[in-house]
Amino acid sequence: MLRNEDEALDVSQEAWVKGWQRLKQFQGQSEFATWMTRIVINLCLDHLRKKKRQQVESLEELDEEWGGAERRMPYLTVNPTEGLERHELRKRIDQALTHLSESHRKVLVLYEFEEMDYKEIAKMMDCSIGTVMSRLFYARRRLAALLMSLKKERDSE
């Protein structure tokens, strides 16, 4: 989610410290791994929020946020990852995720990898379900386009 190994490492360590400090709050209502994952996600989102405050969003990013290019993209008719080994597929997806805007990536990661539903994501990201839906939609459409262009690059090599 952070797209930065050092930052991810720091946040993961911070999460264990937080987990230790809040251990008394763990009621056992969910699995310990789920509880810890929630701490990690919250810290990642906090980290990204802090980072975002320091950056000025470019017009391109704003355009991407509202699905500027994705609105006009034709639907995919071929599978851009067909024939790829699983590790290659993972690598390709990871590459594509790097090119997504932060807000799109966050929603996509929470939905597809953390298996959270719209409501949970909205609550965690402090936004409406409608925003989650549109961000997820544009994230998927953009990801499809990115995977397609990566396929074309690979095919032309």
Partner: protein, 172 residues
């Protein structure tokens, strides 16, 4: 195809619609080629991405990774000591909430007991002012408004002086 419909198709594939809405969407997608194309793309993308998160390994040794966490926990605990004796804490809170007011009340009662004898004394007062030649006793009763000044000599005998009657103040 409008945005609302596109998002509904996505929600349908994500199992976020009610059974009734899902049935309506399924019917619509089956008859609308554009909706079908979008549904196909989203379905294949979901299948591609789901569970295919890139796996990363920690680039440093396990011991080093955990030692940093251990140090951070130790530092955090040092900076903000936790209220360890949790069994003692409720007693302390109870004492603060109940014992302190009771102690305050007891102190007030004690003060009243100390003051009470003074207030139970007769309202009049008597002051003796001895000197080498003449002794003076000053008697004052505010309730009746009488003040008596008594002069006596060294032997303790009252000084017989008719003027002494002037020393008696009658209330007006």
């Amino acid at each position: 195809m409008n945005m609302e419909l596109q998002l509904k198709i996505q929600a349908w594939l994500d199992n976020e619609l009610s059974p009734k809405e899902a049935a309506e969407l399924a019917a619509l997608v089956s008859t609308n080629p554009e909706a079908q194309s979008l549904a196909t793309e989203l379905r294949s993308l979901k299948a591609m991405v789901h569970g295919n998160e890139s796996l990363l390994t920690v680039p440093e040794s396990r011991e080093f990774y955990w030692s940093k966490i251990e140090r951070s926990i130790a530092q955090a605990e040092k900076a903000e000591p936790q209220s360890e004796p949790s069994s003692f804490l409720p007693i302390f809170v109870w004492a603060r909430n109940w014992l302190a007011p009771v102690a305050g009340l007891a102190a007030m009662v004690a003060v009243l007991f100390v003051i009470a004898p003074v207030s139970s004394e007769p309202e009049y007062s008597e002051t003796e002012t001895p000197s080498e030649d003449v002794g003076v006793i000053h008697f004052k009763d505010p309730s009746s408004g009488i003040t008596v000044i008594w002069f006596y000599d060294q032997a303790g005998n009252p000084i017989q002086n008719p003027d002494s009657i002037d020393n008696v103040e009658k209330p007006e």
